[in-house]
């Protein structure tokens, strides 16, 4: 299979990473060589195999419904690139 530039641009949009022509070419080359390597999996028949999502040999533990995290707005906002003490501030959203 080959991953073309159009695909690279599509996935770069989905990943929200801007890609110029040069970078797109480089990525296409790298990804193609990686996927050539990945294609090896097609040798295996897996129709009747259950997918494994987690190796953790336990069940999901449930916590009790208690409020423990109090107002830590200052801590939450402290590291943000832009804020106004109350809100995180981001450039205008254009729909």
């Amino acid at each position: 299979m080959t991953i073309d530039l159009k695909t690279i641009k599509h996935i770069s949009k989905l990943s929200r990473i801007s890609v110029d022509e040069e970078k797109a070419h480089k990525l296409a080359k790298d990804l193609n060589s990686i996927f050539d390597f990945i294609e090896k999996l097609n040798e295996l028949k897996t129709n009747n195999v259950e997918p494994l999502t987690s190796v953790a040999e336990t069940t999901l533990k449930l916590r009790t419904d208690k409020v423990k995290s109090k107002d830590i707005r200052e801590q939450i906002i402290k590291n943000s690139p832009q804020d106004n003490e109350d809100y995180f501030v981001v450039p205008k959203v254009i729909e």
Partner: protein
């Protein structure tokens, strides 16, 4: 469903020779009632200062991990039971990946392939009968934060208080056929969840909102048309308006020979129209996959049956019981059970009335005088100025002849001020009905004496005059005379 016929919607859109049927399915987002969020321990209270109910998990700080809230799981199961639905012993949390300012993780934790609740159904009481609406599924997911676009012209402000609050997404089958059915469906869902205490159903606060899927097809056609999804509508009225607009828009397109695009639309409440959410440069591709920070949610049958034991009587059962036990009409029962607080109030009144009770009379007072007052004052029944106990006393006073219905209305007005005991009002104001035959007899004798000529006319056959004598007697007693007794005595003495 036994005694009632099936409802058949007649909501059709007509153009020239064609009639179109409207097919509607809803995805309702109901906020789970809980103290803390679905995967974090911050509070869920409405109306807090911005970003004051945000934990490190909610703001997606590096290395922060979700831990699920047991109560939210129970609430979802409860709701599933209320929707007569199948509870799945194993469900999976998936990540729905997309970027947005108010989605701190860059993904929403939701359930995609394996929801916690499967198929169920809801029964609607329509004016001409009942209608069953299928439930496709119910799943748990995180709410997003809030983006505020109108404070600053250049920037968007982000408040993450809501980020991570538990939502139940309840997906109906495309079984709804009219705006009225949609309204009944939402009200029924809300009623069930309020009975269960799983969602407060407050639409103003955004606790209940819906995505509405609309398509149209020629009447009697079997094929489904292309559907449009109207996103995030937060009132029943807007849902109805949006459906009406959207269905007509689609019909017009078909009539003009144009095609309908499957798309997401917004309802503009100011212009009363739906419009396309300009398709983003790249189509959405949410790349769902099981969240590796969480394991599958496994629920034992024991866990489910324990919750089942705690399920209160739900509206449909309550209605049935009210009809059987209290001999109410289906119409009366429907009104009383539709809201849990009304049902509670009614049942309180009934229990306070004691042995010799007149339930019909109580129903009339609740749905008549009390509802009118609540309506006027814009109050919920839970805020009623008259307690169930005092209303029960008032109804009993009428029933046992202590006061007349007319006096009761006067007393009711007086009770509004500070939930006064009607018995006490009767005593203080001396409003007790006169039921002593001797005293009333004397009173009537006097009236007949004073109106001899009219009494003779009556005896000669002018029966209309009977009302005159009743009126005189009531007037003379200051309205307190027992009207039945007056009637009897007058008939005898005239």
């Amino acid at each position: 469903m036994d005694q009632v016929s099936k409802s058949k919607s007649d909501y059709l859109i007509s153009r020239k020779d064609n009639q179109y049927e409207v097919i509607i399915g809803l995805e309702v987002h109901a906020q789970v009632t809980s103290e803390s969020k679905l995967f974090s321990t911050s509070a869920t209270k409405f109306g807090a200062e911005p970003n004051t109910q945000v934990s490190l998990v909610d703001a997606a700080f590096p290395g922060m991990l979700p831990v699920i809230n047991e109560f939210c799981v129970k609430q979802a199961i409860k709701t599933g039971i209320g929707l007569n639905a199948k509870i799945n012993n194993r469900s999976v949390f998936d990540r729905k990946n997309y970027f947005y300012a108010d989605l701190p993780q860059g993904y929403q934790i939701s359930q995609f392939k394996d929801p916690i609740v499967g198929e169920g159904k809801v029964i609607l009481d329509m004016p001409d009968g009942q209608k069953e609406v299928g439930i496709e599924r119910l799943h748990l997911e995180q709410d997003a934060g809030k983006s505020i676009h109108d404070i600053d012209p250049k920037n968007t402000f982000v408040d993450l208080n809501r980020s991570g609050v538990a939502l139940m997404e309840i997906v109906s089958k495309p079984d709804l056929r009219s705006p009225d059915e949609v309204s009944a469906y939402i009200k029924k869902l809300r009623s069930i969840m309020r009975y269960l205490g799983t969602c407060d159903g407050n639409m103003q606060e955004g606790s209940l909102r819906a995505d509405v899927n609309v398509s149209v097809r020629l009447k009697d056609s079997k094929n489904l048309g292309t559907r449009c999804e109207i996103k995030n509508v937060n009132s029943i009225k807007f849902m109805q308006m949006a459906i009406d607009y959207e269905a007509n828009r689609q019909v017009d397109l078909i009539e003009e020979g144009k095609s309908i695009d499957q798309e997401t639309r917004l309802f503009d409440t100011k212009k009363n129209e739906t419009r396309s959410m300009r398709s983003k440069e790249d189509a959405h591709d949410y790349r769902y996959f099981p969240d590796p920070d969480l394991l599958p949610l496994e629920i034992s049958d024991q866990f489910i049956s324990k919750i089942k034991n705690d399920i209160p009587e739900l509206p449909d059962d309550k209605k049935k019981r009210f009809i059987e036990e209290f001999k109410l009409s289906p119409y009366e029962a429907t009104i009383l059970v539709s809201d849990i607080d009304t049902a509670r109030y009614f049942e309180n009144v009934v229990s306070k009335m004691g042995k010799n009770k007149d339930i019909k009379l109580a129903v009339n007072w609740i749905t008549g005088e009390l509802f009118a007052v609540l309506n006027n004052k814009n109050l919920e029944i839970s805020q009623s100025p008259i307690s169930a106990k005092n209303l029960a006393i008032l109804v009993n006073l009428i029933k046992n002849g202590t006061i007349s219905g007319k006096i009761a209305k006067t007393i009711f007005e007086l009770m509004l001020d500070g939930d006064k005991d009607p018995q006490q009002i009767v005593e203080e104001k001396g409003l007790k009905q006169q039921s002593d035959p001797k005293a009333l007899g004397a009173l009537i004798d006097k009236i007949i004496n004073d109106n001899r000529e009219k009494a003779i006319e009556y005896k000669q056959g002018k029966e209309k005059l009977f009302g005159f004598f009743v009126g005189q007697a009531m007037k003379a007693s200051g309205g307190k005379a027992n009207p039945q007794l007056i009637n009897e005595l007058l008939k005898k003495k005239l």
